[in-house]
Symmetry: C2
Subunit: 381 residues, 2 copies
């Protein structure tokens, strides 16, 4: 594999992203209208994030759909690095994954990379990586996955079942390749250098095609998987890539755990949500009401509008109305923010309600649901 | 830690070795007469390999002996990379370790690094690494360890219990350090780069001082351990280092698995032993009997003599007699070889006898002996 230097690595996304250029650079494919039509044909509807090209790029999604049509089926794999509380940007892909599970009735595997986060975050204690694993798993369960078709596992707990295969995979990846793909340096610790081997293993959990929904910056991992999968008798993994949900503070910024104003956390209460959005949500409106009425707002750079478009206003007609009114200066920034605040607070209320119930479901997802107990009884090889 | 370039790495030993220089280079200490006297006082005797300075270098062996005297005790850790059949050079350190167990009544932990060997040997299949693990474990058990005080484990089997600690250790070792100590390059695979973390963990199996008997070339591993152990609340590991048993084919050569004539394998039969020693054992004798009678032989470069000195003629008086007669030309090369052949064939006969019985002991050493079952019930952290 050629050594390309990516600016977008799984650990760093900066500046304004040209998504068409990323498709070119990564060698992925655009999700065409044809593919969207096919999904709609198979499932009866299109998820809002597909309809609006939030999920915009893919690898082998067409083959996944063929496998589904032919009855061979597929499975889905995603993950979470447990280094802190989850925010809206973390959880939306899980909601999308849950939609895939519902519509295609597939198994979902969710890797909690407590080792990776400990390796990458120098200030994260091992104990806290465990604590955040627990907390994050509750949020993930709250999304509403099927407990008998979903397996959630922490690397440090499930290692025994995946290590033999990780040993085989690791022999195929040298430091030179890992460096080129992940941007490792001589200062990288030997844990994180080993990690790409571990993250590949869940794509081998079944002898079917694996579909990975993730932000486009995660693509490099799967390029190595695609280079080596067939030598082990497995499929090259398929992937479906999303754009980045921008930070509250600006359409070209990334949400940051160290800057709470950039994101809405899943445990933010209604008042904090209101305060954050009113105070920090980057606006495409004009400096004064008079100018706004006269010149209109710019929804393309307005984070409140972008968030509605990404997920929170799934009704296309309503979204179009909001956009037109905002552009026309009819809808004021404060009014637009008020719409988002209500949407998010409703969303969080429901999420928190389900999160409370999730405590009783942890064991099912991790150990004794149908899929979980099957996974604990088998070694991957 | 400073980045030193060692010529002696755990995977490459070449040329004639100046052992005093190695002590200087590695910063270890000579095993002094004082230490030997103390061991003799504590155990009643000195193992032949201590008496003859085959084990010649150490780290903190004095502290280990103090801990033993004070009743705190210590434990012992060694290992084997299962990439093929074991030869004499592999098994002698285990006989020495067994002596330590017997004399000090200590626990012995034996790591079978089936992951490491798979990573290092490109032609070794995963299946064969498992097969050789089994075969090698039989040879190790045949040495006669106490089944209730010895735990033999394969990395790929025991990983679940050691991984959490390996994760913590790995964060403390960056590629730069690993490269300096082990000679990794950009072509090294990400498995072997991770491996130093795994090999350190058994030094944390007990909250006592760990004594590692090994050839001096294995020292680099433990230098990293000694840098980080105390930050985890464990002891810097102690070590006792041996010289290399030379290849049959020459006193400055290393036994090589790909050159069967360089070594005596534990499954070589009596005829092969005889043939190998007569045909290949490098001789310090003269080209003709007449010259030998006149000029005498040189035991210092005669591999048959060196092997007798290393282990196979434990009687100091007899060895001295052999040496003097050989130097004087009284003892011919063929006669010297005959002595070694008999010693080795007796040794192998006994070893093979015990190896047959070892099959019934495997489970005790690996899973359900006193120490083994204790180890399976605990996670290292």
């Amino acid at each position: 594999m050629a050594a390309n230097n990516f600016i977008v690595t799984p650990w760093e996304v900066e500046g304004k992203v040209d998504y068409n250029k990323l498709i070119e650079k990564f060698g992925t494919h655009k999700i065409t209208q044809e593919i969207k039509d096919k999904i709609k044909k198979l499932t009866g509807e299109l998820h809002v994030m597909l309809r609006r090209d939030i999920f915009f790029s893919h690898r082998d999604l067409d083959l996944v759909l063929s496998d589904y049509e032919n009855g061979k089926g597929f499975f889905t794999y995603t993950g979470r690095g447990p280094s802190g509380p989850m925010h809206i940007g973390h959880i939306l892909p899980f909601y999308f994954t849950k939609w895939i599970q519902e519509k295609f009735d597939v198994n979902v595997y969710i890797e909690i990379t407590d080792d990776e986060k400990f390796w990458v975050k120098k200030k994260l204690s091992y104990k806290d990586a465990q604590k955040w694993s627990y907390e994050n798993i509750l949020d993930i369960i709250a999304v509403g996955f099927n407990p008998d078709k979903t397996f959630i596992f922490q690397d440090t707990e499930y290692i025994s079942n995946i290590y033999p295969m990780a040993v085989k995979v690791a022999r195929k990846i040298n430091f030179s390749l890992a460096k080129a793909v992940f941007g490792f340096t001589d200062q990288s610790n030997i844990g994180i250098i080993f990690f790409p081997a571990l993250q590949i293993i869940p794509t081998f959990f079944e002898r079917k095609r694996c579909l990975i929904p993730s932000a486009i910056d995660q693509d490099p991992y799967w390029r190595i998987q695609r280079d080596i999968a067939e030598s082990f008798g497995y499929y090259k993994t398929a992937a479906i890539h999303s754009k980045f949900l921008p930070a509250l503070t600006g359409p070209t910024q990334k949400m940051s755990a160290s800057k709470p104003e950039t994101a809405i956390y899943l445990n933010d209460d209604e008042k904090i949500v209101r305060k954050k959005i009113f105070r920090y949500a980057f606006s495409g409106g004009q400096p004064t009401i008079e100018m706004h009425r006269k010149l209109g707002g710019n929804p393309d750079i307005d984070v409140s509008f972008i968030w509605l478009k990404y997920f929170f206003e799934p009704d296309d007609k309503k979204l179009k109305e909001i956009e037109e009114k905002y552009r026309a200066g009819e809808l004021l920034t404060g009014e637009l923010k008020q719409i988002l605040i209500e949407k998010i607070n409703n969303f969080l209320k429901e999420h928190k309600r389900r999160r409370k119930k999730a405590i009783d479901l942890i064991d099912k997802f991790k150990y004794d649901g149908s899929l979980a107990s099957e996974m604990w009884s088998k070694k991957i090889s």
